[in-house]
Amino acid sequence: MPQTDEITLHVSTPAGPFHGAFPKTTKVSAVIAAIVEAKGLDAGEDLRLMNGDEQLAPERPLVSFHFGSEVTLSLLATGSGV
């Protein structure tokens, strides 16, 4: 059961799903770093945390997005269409 000051994230990543609870004050950049470590991703990659079509700004804390107690997100590996 997550604490009320935590939010549970379900995140699709390049290496499959990540599930984890974070304090709501955690910055998006720290969430990305935690997922990178947990999933063994390349820390040098440009990865963006997305809520649908919205990129979550790395410097903002999770609480600022007004999610409920759980949310499903995507970790997007960038690369350009050309």
Partner: protein
């Protein structure tokens, strides 16, 4: 006994299958090296890809567009357009799509990429796993998609 390449591919497709479950995408595996994946676009309609991953990861998958009812492959009405990514030629224009290489598919916009180097072509970025490719397709369907080709 499965080869190392087959085990890698199996693992990558399984990662995508689990991601698809998270987002309620419509995943169906057709054989060990191919699958269909339905993904919603920003207008609320759905597109289905048919990915053929034989030869992965020596070469990238072929990401076709697909119609689950008619079984048509790459029909204009099933093909999204938008930006450079959903190219006007009807293929996803990225080094991780086999169809983007003119030497593989006549519609491919690129004869300046070497398919064997697809993972290190700068435009690939971090999009080197099948799950990452699907997420990228989803993101562009939710943002740059403009209309169907036909």
């Amino acid at each position: 006994m499965a080869t190392a390449s087959e085990l890698i591919l199996e693992s990558q497709i399984e990662a995508l299958r689990q991601n698809a479950g998270l987002h309620a995408w419509k995943f169906e595996q057709l054989d060990p090296a191919s699958f269909t994946l339905g993904i919603p676009a920003k207008d609320g309609s759905w597109f289905t890809t048919l990915a053929k991953c034989d030869g992965f990861a020596a070469r990238p998958p072929a990401w076709h567009w697909y119609n689950l009812e008619t079984k048509a492959i790459d029909a204009p009405r099933d093909t999204p357009l938008g930006g450079n990514f959903f190219h006007s030629a009807g293929v996803i224009c990225a080094p991780w799509n086999r169809l983007a290489y003119k030497g593989v598919d006549a519609r491919g916009p690129h004869d300046n990429w070497t398919i064997g180097n697809w993972m290190t072509i700068p435009e690939t970025g971090g999009t080197r796993t099948i799950a990452a490719m699907a997420t990228r397709i989803s993101q562009v369907l939710l943002t740059a998609f403009t209309k169907r080709m036909g």
